[in-house]
C-alpha cells in the first residue's frame, strides 16, 4: 500500500510537468492514422519477461487516445504463426510489408532500454526506460519519444534516526521482493501518449468535446 501510494504521489509530481521541447507534428497530421499496429517490443534490458509485460500495457492508453489499436496478443500470435517470435526480427521487417499484412495505417515500435532495480545501502531505485517510434504505412517516421521513469521509496524524515533506518530497510525489502515496474510503465505510457507535451494528437474516435 505504501508503495502504491508513493507511486501515486510520484505520478502526481511528475505527471503534468511540461517538457521544454515541442516536437513538430506536421508529419503525423499529414498521415492522420486511424489505426495503429503495436508489434512485440525489443528488449535491451536483462529481464526476459519485460517485453510481454510492456506489450500488455500499450493498447489501453493508445485506444483511449482515439485510435483503433490492433489486438496485441492476436498480433503476436499471427506473427508467431509466420515464424516471427522475437521483437528484434519483427522490428527489422520493412514497415510497409508489416502494415500491409495487418491493414494498419501506422506501426508502433517500442524498445525497452532499462527495466531494473538497483539496490544500494538501505534503498532501492527502480528504473524503466523506453523508446517509442511510430512509422506510417509508407515507411516514414511520424513521431518518436523516449521516457525514463524512476521510483525510489521516500523515507519519512519525521522520526528518530533509528526509526528512519527501520523504515528505509523495510521499504528496500518490500521493493526488492516485488519491484514496482508496472505502475512506472503505465505512467510512462500515460505521459507519452496522453498527457505529455509531445503526446500523439487525438485520434478519430476521440470526441471533439473531450479534446484537450
Amino acid at each position: 500500500m505504501k508503495i502504491v501510494s508513493s507511486a501515486l504521489i510520484l505520478a502526481v509530481l511528475t505527471g503534468c510537468v511540461a517538457q521544454p521541447v515541442k516536437q513538430d507534428m506536421s508529419a503525423f497530421h499529414a498521415t492522420a492514422p486511424r489505426s495503429i499496429l503495436v508489434v512485440p517490443t525489443i528488449n535491451k534490458s536483462l529481464d526476459v519477461d519485460a517485453p510481454n509485460y510492456v506489450l500488455a500495457a500499450l493498447p489501453v492508453p493508445i485506444a483511449n487516445k482515439g485510435y483503433y489499436v490492433f489486438p496485441v496478443n492476436t498480433t503476436k500470435y499471427v506473427l508467431e504463426q509466420e515464424g516471427f517470435y522475437e521483437g528484434e526480427r519483427i522490428h527489422q521487417m520493412a514497415t510497409p510489408d508489416l502494415a500491409k499484412l495487418f491493414g494498419a495505417d501506422a506501426v508502433l515500435y517500442v524498445s525497452i532500454n532499462r527495466w531494473d532495480a538497483q539496490y544500494a545501502f538501505i534503498t532501492t531505485v527502480v528504473t524503466v526506460e523506453f523508446d517509442y517510434r511510430l512509422v506510417s504505412k509508407d515507411g516514414a517516421e511520424i513521431w518518436k519519444e523516449s521516457k525514463r521513469m524512476q521510483y525510489q521509496p521516500q523515507n519519512n524524515n519525521s522520526g528518530s534516526p533509528i526509526a528512519m533506518l527501520v523504515v528505509a530497510v523495510v521499504n528496500a525489502a518490500v521493493t526488492r521482493a516485488a519491484p514496482n515496474y508496472m505502475p512506472l510503465t503505465r505512467q510512462a505510457n500515460q505521459e507519452v501518449f496522453i498527457s505529455g507535451v509531445n503526446a500523439i494528437p487525438d485520434g478519430p474516435y476521440r470526441p471533439a468535446s473531450s479534446k484537450q
Binding site: 485506444a63 483511449n64 483503433y68 490492433f70 492476436t74 491493414g103 494498419a104 476521440r206
Partner: protein
C-alpha cells in the same frame, strides 16, 4: 487523516491531466499481464473477456477495440474455430479498421474447416 492524504493526490491526478477513458476494458490489461506472467492464467483472461463482452452487449455499449479479436484468438488456441470465427466477425463489424485482418483470419479458418470436412468424407 493519513487515508485522506493518500486519496487527495489521486483526486488531483484524475481531475488534473488524465484524459478520461473512452471505453470500458473489463480488466483486460491486468488479466493479459497476468497471463503473460503465468500462462495458466490465460484461462482467466478468457473468462474475464467473456463476462465483460456479455455485459457490454447486454447494456448495448460498444466493446473496446481489439477485445472481440483477443477472445477469438484465445478460442482459436483452445481449438474452437467456430467460436473464433464468430468473435473475429464481431470485431470486424464493430471496428472497420480491422476488416482486412479479420477477413483474412476468418477465410483462413473457414478454408481449414472445409479441408478437414472434405478429408473426413
Amino acid at each position: 487523516m493519513v487515508r485522506f492524504l493518500l486519496i487527495l493526490p489521486i483526486v488531483v491526478a484524475l481531475g488534473g491531466c488524465v484524459t478520461p477513458s473512452l471505453y470500458q476494458w473489463g480488466g483486460y490489461e491486468e488479466a493479459l499481464y497476468a497471463g503473460y506472467k503465468d500462462p495458466t492464467k490465460m484461462e482467466a483472461l478468457r473468462l474475464k473477456l467473456e463476462a465483460h463482452i456479455a455485459e457490454m452487449e447486454k447494456s448495448a455499449q460498444k466493446v473496446a477495440p481489439g477485445l472481440y479479436a483477443e477472445l477469438g484468438t484465445l478460442y482459436l488456441q483452445a481449438g474452437s474455430s467456430d467460436k473464433a470465427i464468430s468473435m473475429y466477425s464481431r470485431e470486424r463489424d464493430t471496428w472497420p479498421e480491422s476488416k482486412g485482418l479479420m477477413t483474412a483470419m476468418i477465410q483462413n479458418l473457414e478454408r481449414r474447416q472445409q479441408a478437414r470436412a472434405e478429408a473426413a468424407k
